[in-house]
Assembly symmetry: C2
Homo-oligomer: 798 residues x 2
């Protein structure tokens, strides 16, 4: 992960093309740094071509009398003067190709060298990492350098191209670096007096906040080696001497300044944040110290790169100020392909470049249309949905769903109902539900922790039976309200798979008990006359914000059956009351399935997707509706349309990012990692339809047996861990306290290799009162998950 | 604007660098097209270097016996073999530099040639437009080609680089094209048997849905001209013959296929949209025909590029299927810098590449922190705000504002108030208010058109006096409820500036009348005991969705003064009840000022910004709050925090796009266009504080005198036009009917030159019942605005 050291200023040097003078200008930088009495480290990660021409040799050769201050090295060397991926292939043909170093190898090797140098110095030093060829020249594995080196997130110098066409290659290279989020401190290039590219590029980059240094061209290569050496040496002397007009020494000072500003910025961010930002869901009364603010400098894959304030404040720190922190809640359950995935960035950029945003009412554009079709016909809406309605987030998507359901219900059953009665139409749901923080979505939930002055819960909420693993056993916990006999409060099932075998369980006595209980409750409510229930709203299988409650799926299925009067799932019109699935959290494979409908054996009339939908990049939601719900809004009166819309409805960037995400999810579904995880969870009885998790079944079971742990449960990416605690609920700190060590930096070297760069890492996790939960991305590698499991285990079972 | 013709397939050819074989491969394409019995047009917009080496000459020279089918031309020719911007400068030095063709000139000239060719053919033909150098080589004006040619939005062929380093330059060039949204149909490059770039690039681009053609290298250049000609001719013959393995003829077929698929896609989009999409605010019962669906193929600056279905369906159409349509509502009031502004795309891309999205509670990242500081200290919050709270759109931003205000009020005044009473706390506002479509935001408005079953309006809304220009006169219309004498219902003021001179008007008798009326009404409400008012919520100066109602600013000022008990604006704690400014529509210069506070001479306790905030690209909102509001949520109880948050709270992309937007707005404020518009509106009396508009004052006045027009009003980007009509309100069609002609295609050549490419254009406008409104971006050029004024005038005064 991004390394940043107080005493060692490191820059990576990318070229706008091959043969633009990268090595010459880097050598000049190295010499100028050494002239400033600095130790200088030069690193060429990958070199191709004969050793006598190698860049690290050139650097040492022209280190001259400064050579004692300069350390130059190369990590991977190949003889053929071609692109690294080809050079490696030529050296390791055919069955040796597995010997070609992976991106991870390369990145970890560079990170090791940086760490080693940072540890070896006693005063300020400089380091230059010179890449090969252009920004997108392939690395050994074949991925391009701009992508391969991204985990290191090193501050960057771009060597521009001074030749004809060089303006273009310089700007295009700059944009490719920008797309990976790199901090570009400077552009440096030769002054070609004919093409004069620097004259164009200086104001161009100044506008973009980037410094451009233009340096005299080197002399022509001379035939005689010693003449050539002398002339080159003179050249280096002339451009690195600290005379007034020389740009290289000035650039070195400028880069020092960039480094210091970055340190200062990281130092100042917590205070500035505490002074201006109002965080969501945070009691600011508790956050008094700058140490309590997580400064996220960048993010990549599963990891944040966070600032370690204690190291930043150590006077002679030799450890990196930035360290990886596993994003253990997938950033509030949004991350899908990990942070900063280039495919999603490019999808966003392309839509932005083609449309920006364009208004949507009575209009269409490809990103929105493709997404609507995918979601309706070949996604969560498959088999039941007819329309896609776009809004901005899960909460607004649920407001739309509620507006749809209430209208459909009141058109059919609201004859003679006055507007007051319509305002009081209620929701049937489950205790612990959460549908978002806008007030309409809140009103569909019980009043509890998530409340506000206007929260006016409308409806009735059943206390649901739940599924969990307690002391190694799969247990359905039945609340006393359902189970007449206290003894039957817990039912044990042989496997998770059997819990989710709905068709099998529909014939059980428990199903009959659920049915009876639900029917009686609804009859009682009907007799009371209020609340007048108009829609059934559930989060299928897991209630997230309510505390990661895994609801007994049989209860949800029976509830829907009862409400619909046992209507068959294929009927084209809703019956009883419209059924809404809030799949904002659970949908699109977060819990190991695209949608809960097929597992429950029943489809909703309305459903909502968000979060994973846009791959963890930007907000957007889709509310799907069946034909009969849509038709409730058709009339010859404009005011009877669904009068809901947001300025950025169906914004092309969100739609295109969603299209790309769904495509990447298709690929993941057949990936080896997914297949292996599914295989681990396949029950012994060999049933085909099953549930599965990215977390290891043995780990999960053993965890549930620990004395501190009350209950564990997992599906898909989600691992929930309920701590034994007398005081439960949202304000409980018990889970936080138990697992606090995970967030601490000093990991004693556990799993050193799984974080980018092989860095020691901490784990950012979230709690909901006495429940701690961990949520991975959908492409988190098994080795990272095993490593997190190991840490959780060691933290609790210490 | 994007030209697309049924019979003429046009591709632009970009090079990954200079000297990659662009002309040779284009010549091969031209020959292969001609061999397929097509007319072929070759266009070199800009050529630099000696005429004997010019690319168009090469194409004709090697047209051979096919030359009768080939038409090659060059538009701008410069002798010096350097980048076009430099070649032009060398030819037009110093005081002649104004003779260098502008980007608009270049684009219009190309568009003219394409139109001319499309009109000249009777059967299918091909056209190739060969650019100069690399994708970012500067055009004559100095902007790079990828940007300069973007308005034409031509389907693109990228000529890849087969040399060492060519993988990088090809991918980087591809990404720069992607950032501009270009449709890239194919990559073509030479097969270099040593570097083998094509072997890498073929699978790379296949993954990205792009076809790669690799072609044998041309022979070495021979010293003898006639030998060289012969060898070149043989080469062209060999690569363009229609033999099995030849890629060039196959590529021509492939490009034909891309063209046909695009036509087919445009043809199918309306039906597919009508079958799957549920639009916001649209009565689908009214939209039965595919002709009623606006297909937006791309957008640029102020214009959509829309598909003209009638032309698409003409059997022998010679006009372009795509035509520009002026985005006359700034896409629901969001557009700021016009569509697809490269700076905003790059800002989005950089944030995506650095962070993706990262969770925000108790964390910080630079894009969010910089934005919060800007908004609080150096933006709309200047002088009063203390904190920035992020949410996803104007509606959620308002829900946050309401939650803040209700909590602050009930903490101070809610002692002994039960939760039922808190649910009934009411809002003081104005009739015609609109704060978004989530139910909490709706409840802060009267029940009217924008309603739903759960809408439960809580509060009291004054009927406000309004400002308008009637028959050339500036009129304040006082509703009968305020004015006791019917005669005084209309008050005339000398200028718009005098209307907005609040300090001056505070001493008027009207101010006293307002004060008395408001005080009496509030006393009466207090006596009634309900609604118990807890917050004053206003859209300062203009109520947008309510019908572009320009409220008398004096009334709003007096209302706030009365509510606050004439508290001075500088007090640090709120008084009376918290005051919320909903500046989602009016804020950030949409109506010619950053915020209405300074003009009203008073600041809110809470305010909301969205729309312009993110430059018209993606959704995000910020709710600003004063210190005393923030402190109402500080406690030692976690559950008393502001429990509102969205998954993507403070998403880095949105924050970084907002930061860039605010920076661009800073530049605009000192731009010549803005100064000129302000100058036009400066009142004769020379007062310094004034209001202004992008629309011409004379046009506005004259428009108001037309017999069909009841009233006109303008501020900043907004022009509102109320039509004389017996039936008013949301469902009225009168404004739509009056202005229908603006949306029609055949513009009789009015303002031909202002749309990109000089195309004929239509005007997309929106109505709210009997009000039609037009809203420009904040950088719409005066010539475009004049042209729209001209059309509006001619449409109504026909």
């Amino acid at each position: 992960m991004s390394s940043l050291f107080k005493q060692l200023r490191v820059h990576q040097i990318f070229g706008a093309n091959t043969d633009v003078g990268k090595t010459i200008l880097t050598t000049a930088l190295v010499r100028a740094s050494a002239l400033k009495e600095k130790s200088v480290f030069y690193l060429k990660p990958i070199s191709t071509g004969p050793i006598e021409d190698a860049d690290d040799k050139h650097v040492m050769r022209f280190g001259g009398k400064l050579a004692n201050k300069i350390h130059a090295e190369c990590l991977f060397r190949y003889n053929e003067p071609v692109s690294p991926h080809l050079a490696a292939k030529l050296m390791m043909p055919g069955d040796q190709s597995q010997l070609i170093p992976s991106d991870e190898n390369v990145v970890n090797s560079i990170a090791n060298r940086i760490r080693a140098h940072a540890g070896s110095i006693s005063k300020h030093a400089h380091m230059y990492v010179e890449t090969a060829g252009g920004v997108h020249s392939p690395c050994l594995s074949g991925s391009t350098q701009a992508d391969c080196y991204r985990p290191l997130f090193l501050p960057t110098i771009l060597v521009g191209d001074s030749k004809l066409g060089g303006i273009s290659s310089t700007i295009a290279s700059y944009e490719s670096l920008l797309l990976r989020g790199y901090i570009i401190d400077a552009v440096i290039l030769f002054q070609d007096q004919y093409y004069r590219n620097w004259e164009y590029l200086q104001p161009y980059f100044a506008e973009r906040g980037i410094h451009v240094s233009a340096v005299h061209r080197p002399p022509e290569v001379l035939a005689d080696p010693s003449d050539n050496f002398k002339s080159t040496e003179d050249y280096y002397n002339s451009i690195t001497s600290t005379s007034e007009e020389n740009t290289i020494p000035k650039l070195v000072d400028y880069l020092d300044n960039c480094h210091n500003l970055r340190l200062h910025e990281l130092e100042s961010m917590p205070r500035r944040t505490l002074d201006t930002v109002w965080w969501p869901f945070v009691q600011h009364g508790f956050v008094q110290s700058e140490n309590d603010v997580t400064v996220i400098d960048s993010a990549y894959g599963d990891f944040f790169s966070v600032c370690k304030r204690n190291i930043l404040q150590e006077p002679n720190a030799t450890r990196s100020i930035l360290a990886p922190e596993f994003d253990g809640s997938a950033s509030w359950w949004t991350q899908t392909m990990g942070h900063a995935h280039p495919s999603l960035t490019l999808a966003a950029a392309q839509a932005s470049g083609r449309y920006g945003h364009v208004m949507f009412p009575q209009a269409t554009h490809l990103p929105a249309l493709n997404l609507a079709e995918r979601m309706v016909h070949d996604g969560p809406g498959r088999g039941w949905a007819s329309r896609a309605f776009f809004s901005d987030n899960g909460s607004t998507g649920m407001e739309v769903a509620l507006k749809m359901a209430l209208r459909a219900f009141s058109l059919r059953h609201g004859k003679g109902m006055d507007s007051g009665a319509k305002k009081d139409l209620g929701i049937l749901g489950l205790k612990g539900s959460y549908h978002g923080d806008t007030i309409g979505a809140m009103d569909a939930c019980e009043e509890g922790v998530y409340t506000c002055e206007w929260h006016d819960a409308k409806g009735y909420w059943f206390e649901p039976p739940s599924v969990g693993i307690k002391d190694g056993k799969i247990i359905i916990s039945i609340p006393p309200s359902i189970s007449a006999t206290p003894k039957a409060n817990e039912i044990r099932l042989p496997s998770l798979s059997s819990v989710y075998d709905i068709e099998g369980r529909l014939r059980s006595s428990l199903a009959r008990a659920y049915t009876l209980y639900i029917e009686r409750t609804l009859e009682k409510l009907e007799k009371q006359g209020r609340p007048k229930l108009a829609a059934l709203v559930i989060e299928p299988l897991v209630m997230g914000a309510g505390g990661m409650i895994f609801v007994d799926p049989l209860f949800q299925r029976v509830l829907i059956d009862v409400v619909r009067g046992r209507r068959s799932g294929s009927s084209s019109s809703w019956s009883g009351m419209p059924v809404i699935f809030d799949e904002v959290f659970v949908g699109l494979h977060r819990i190991g399935m695209e949608s809960a409908g097929p597992l429950l054996g029943i489809y909703p009339d309305i459903s909502v997707n968000a979060k994973v939908l846009t791959g963890g990049l930007i907000p957007m939601a889709i509310t799907l509706a069946s034909k009969s719900i849509f038709e409730a809004f058709l009339s010859d009166n404009k005011a009877e349309a669904l009068l809901h819309g947001h300025s950025y409805t169906a914004h092309p960037i969100g739609c295109e990012v969603a299209n790309k995400t769904l495509q990447l999810l298709d690929d993941l579904q057949t990936s080896d990692d997914w297949k292996a995880a599914q295989e681990r969870w396949r029950p012994l009885d060999g049933t085909e339809r099953t549930v599965w998790s990215f977390w290891d079944p043995t780990f999960v079971r053993e965890l549930s047996k620990l004395p501190e742990v009350d209950e564990v449960m997992t599906l898909g990416c989600v691992l929930a861990l309920k701590v034994k605690d007398a005081s439960t609920g949202y304000t409980s700190q018990s889970a936080q306290t138990l697992l606090q060590k995970l967030r601490q930096f000093d990991d004693g070297g556990i799993g050193l290799s799984v974080a980018p760069g092989g860095d020691a890492f901490s784990v950012h996790f979230r709690t909901l009162g006495d429940v701690a939960y961990f949520i991975t991305s959908l492409n988190t590698s098994p080795s990272v998950i095993r490593s997190i499991e190991d840490r959780i285990w060691k933290t609790i079972a210490r």
